[in-house]
């Protein structure tokens, strides 16, 4: 069986796969950055006492979390043009990943923040620290430590979910596998290579998370 495995064809298609890898990495980096920003803002709104921003944030988070990503992608890809908004595939894809991951990240950060004991906040308040100082010195150093593992998990999910963008013909890693399969009909070789590259991204992200956790957990106060 392994004898039939055609390594030569993988090398022949390597330039295509590298283009796909670059595209997937680009989608991942941009989406993760945007999703983190979205998540932080959504979380800040979610825990705010102001109803006018709290309830929209809850609605956003619940809508995203209760519907499949593929449906969200199709809604943006097929739905937006009928509403008069024409957005290219790549941007649509990034928008979908950003909105989807942002909702999950908002909840992860919220869990980290609420895990810090209220009493410490009161102690900070009593000694005259303002809201931002309490966030900066008391909550975030402790919250970051506990949020990094689940945030890493969410970002890995985002990278793998980006495979769904092949369904709206974004030329990324999975789409490259499909292309090779349809041109040469060698699905085993094609998707083995695709899987290998996803694994590479996974281990890079993991190394990054380990490093940042060492750097950020229990960081000094000043």
């Amino acid at each position: 069986m392994l004898v039939d495995f055609n390594f030569r064809i993988i090398f022949e298609y390597l330039p295509l796969f590298l283009t796909g890898l670059r595209s997937t990495c680009f989608i991942a980096v941009v989406s993760i950055a945007l999703a983190l920003a979205t998540g932080i803002i959504a979380c800040a709104c979610r825990i705010s006492g102001v109803k006018a921003i709290k309830y929209p944030a809850i609605a956003y988070i619940e809508i995203i979390r209760s519907t499949p990503l593929l449906v969200q992608i199709y809604f943006l890809y097929f739905g937006l043009p009928t509403l008069g908004l024409r957005v290219p595939e790549l941007q649509t894809g990034i928008l979908a990943l950003m909105l989807n991951s942002g909702a999950y990240i908002a909840e992860i950060i919220r869990a980290g923040i609420t895990s810090v004991d209220d009493g410490q906040l009161e102690a900070g308040t009593a000694s005259g620290l303002n809201y931002f100082q309490r966030m900066r010195f008391i909550i975030l150093p402790q919250a970051l430590g506990v949020t990094i593992p689940p945030l890493l998990g969410q970002n890995i999910v985002l990278v793998k979910d980006s495979a769904l963008l092949s369904l709206i013909s974004v030329m990324e890693l999975t789409r490259c596998g499909q292309t090779m399969t349809s041109e040469r009909f060698m699905p085993a070789e094609a998707f083995f290579t695709v899987a290998f590259f996803y694994m590479c991204i996974y281990f890079c992200l993991k190394a990054l998370a380990d490093w940042s956790q060492r750097k950020l957990i229990f960081r000094e106060a000043y």
Binding site: D117, G119, Q120, E122, A123, G124, T125, A126, S127, G128, L129, N130, Q133, F137, I138, P141, Q142, G145, F218, R219, E220, A221, Y222
Partner: protein, 242 residues
């Protein structure tokens, strides 16, 4: 120095502070006792506005605490607060815990804040623990750090909310000793506690609360030996019998 004028507070339907009138003068040590749920913690938490009040007025050093134009940072810098559960910041060393507010609220230079912090740690007898983390300390030591943290802002008033209730019996003494020392320095103090020994030794006045009202006030000796009200007598007999 601290004045309550007809203060009322509700938690939902519960009338937790009921027409409180109270004056605490400079250098006075006031002990507040009473059954749980009587409003004694709430009373002292209103002094630095950890709790809001719905009616009446509290004045600290001529500043109306619950006025919306009051500079809370400035007010809170004059008032140290010690909690029952210590509430130290677990991710910071003892020294960092004590230095956080002077550096960030008073904007002192680090070297200066460190000097003051070490002075206060010496005062509570914990200089050698300055680089330890809270989790490495006993309950009594943690509470003494919390007191040092309250003192670094050089407050004029110290509030204690059941400072020894979460401690093993063995460790109560070391915390009370630190507090007795503070009294001898002339600190104005409000202490919610049931430590009768402490009250008899240093308190100038004991205040007994029940159901949100001040039921009785008096000198410690009068209060514990000859309570005027039946409610206070019943309470004292209960804390004495164990």
């Amino acid at each position: 120095m601290i004045e309550f004028k007809n203060v009322n507070k509700w938690f939902g339907k519960l009338h937790v502070l009921n027409n409180i009138d109270l004056k605490i003068s400079k250098g006075e040590v006031l002990v507040i006792c009473g059954p749980s749920g009587s409003g004694k913690s709430t009373l002292i938490r209103c002094i630095n506005r950890l709790e809001k009040i719905q009616k009446g007025e509290i004045i600290v050093n001529n500043t109306p605490v619950h006025d919306k134009h009051t500079n809370l940072t400035k007010l809170r810098a004059q008032i140290g607060f010690v909690f029952q559960q210590f509430h130290l910041y677990p991710h910071m060393t003892v020294l960092q815990n004590v230095m956080l507010a002077p550096v960030n609220v008073k904007k002192l230079a680090k070297s200066e804040a460190e000097k003051i912090a070490l002075e206060k740690l010496e005062q509570v007898g914990l200089t050698e623990k300055s680089s330890a983390y809270p989790a490495q300390l006993s309950g009594g030591q943690q509470q003494r750090v919390a007191i040092a943290r309250g003192l670094t802002m050089s407050p004029e008033i110290m509030l204690f909310d059941e400072p020894t209730s979460a401690l093993d019996p063995e460790m109560i003494g070391e915390v009370l000793d630190v507090m007795v020392n503070l009294v001898s320095e002339g600190m104005t103090m409000c202490v919610v506690t049931h430590e009768m020994g402490f009250a008899k030794k240093v308190a100038h006045r004991v205040l007994f609360m029940d159901e949100g009202k001040i039921v009785e006030t008096g000198t410690p000796d009068d209060f514990f030996d000859n309570p005027k009200t039946d409610r206070a007598a019943e309470f004292i007999s209960k804390i004495l019998t164990h």
